[in-house]
Symmetry: C2
Subunit: 234 residues, 2 copies
């Protein structure tokens, strides 16, 4: 809520008396009209079991992919990600890693889904969310924006550590992440420059989406910011 108010996406704010007393700063910071509502109305408007007593009407979040991608050097593309909690957590970690945008591609969850917004802990308001129903167009838009396109795929990918060692992550990069259950569509995978697999050293058969995204995005963030090790070819 604080993030929505801070980043100016609130059109109208509804608060209970109790919430208004608890968060006077929030009411003050809002440039949108504020209306008092009853606890019962707040419960009706809210999706959660313990509503906070504040409900905001916000501008919609999505924009065309090409617009979201403008000037970015690191991007997460959710290609068919269907769990809203996963999507929100990836938005949060993409924000933390300094990504310039997140793109919802194919049959991905709606970024306005309440669980997605809550799991992002405000990050949906921090970076542009592109929406492109056709995953191939999403890949094309990434290339158009000057990004290499790497698909996270445990089954077919080159080892992430080898990619890091080769310096391949220094280039501006869009990371494609597929559906949690079915993985990435084969034809979307083929459209990427190549696939990358996070090495599995133990006996786990896979990683969950958000942890895999965290490892890939932070590997890129590090490659973008650190100089090559002393003695490496520069």
């Amino acid at each position: 809520m604080r993030e929505a108010v801070t980043y100016g996406t609130v059109l109208e704010l509804f608060v209970t008396e109790r919430a208004a007393h608890r968060h006077p700063d929030l009411i003050e910071a809002s440039s949108a009209p504020v209306s008092l509502i009853t606890e019962r109305a707040a419960a009706g408007l809210s999706e959660t079991a313990t509503p906070q007593g504040i409900v905001a009407v916000c501008t919609t979040l999505g924009c065309p992919a090409a617009e979201a991608l403008r000037g970015t050097r690191l991007v997460a593309v959710l290609a068919g990600v269907s769990d809203p909690g996963n999507a929100g957590t990836v938005i949060r970690v993409a924000d933390a890693a300094g990504a310039g945008a997140v793109v919802f591609a194919g049959d991905a969850v709606d970024p306005h889904n309440g669980k997605c917004v809550r799991a992002s802990t405000g990050s949906v308001f921090h970076l542009p969310l592109g929406v492109e129903r056709d995953p191939h167009r999403a890949v094309a838009a990434c290339r158009q924006a000057g990004l290499q396109v790497l698909a996270a795929d445990a089954d077919s990918g080159r080892d992430l550590d080898d990619i890091i060692d080769a310096g391949s992550l220094a280039a501006p990069t869009a990371w494609l992440f597929g559906n949690e259950v079915h993985g990435m569509d084969r034809d979307v995978l083929a459209a990427a420059d190549y696939a990358v697999a996070i090495p599995l050293y133990g006996r786990a058969e896979s990683l969950n989406l958000a942890t895999a995204a965290a490892i890939c995005l932070y590997a890129s963030a590090r490659a973008h910011r650190r100089r090559p090790a002393a003695g490496a070819i520069t």
Copy 2:
């Protein structure tokens, strides 16, 4: 379920007729006695909304921390982690990163919690889970096992990238992760060798526990397996 059977921790197996037909390999692989039960009994025994029709009685998972830590080079310590889904996801990523054990320290969730077991997707059966109620003793047990003790703490830590560059992660390491909401107890933090912060490049104020653990544990996994870059002091 498959993992529990494979790793021989099942004492007794209860299956519905339907599940027995669907998973004949599982029944065959089990060295434990198998009993047929009704769908209704399976629903009563299961915690989930859509029970799979198979219920196993397993040996308990925990062991003393010192026993779990024996011979390890990478360990995750859940110091007061209270969300079972988070704990299970950290066990899964620790397994994937090749950690030798996970230690539940202080007021951490019970590793037998159904949500923890399910979120681990079988990894609770892959590596020893140490249990030590006193977090200071858990830290002492890690040192005793020859591990440096690094506390993941966004507020007070040295930058993770600096630690990587300094080669500090090459040593056998126990990573301490604190409670999702309250963070790490100050005195537990003080007991660590030092605190490490994952850099936040965007506007996100923090990472969630599982993604933070993924980044730290995989940074260690990489440092343990890769040679220093050419030209670096070896």
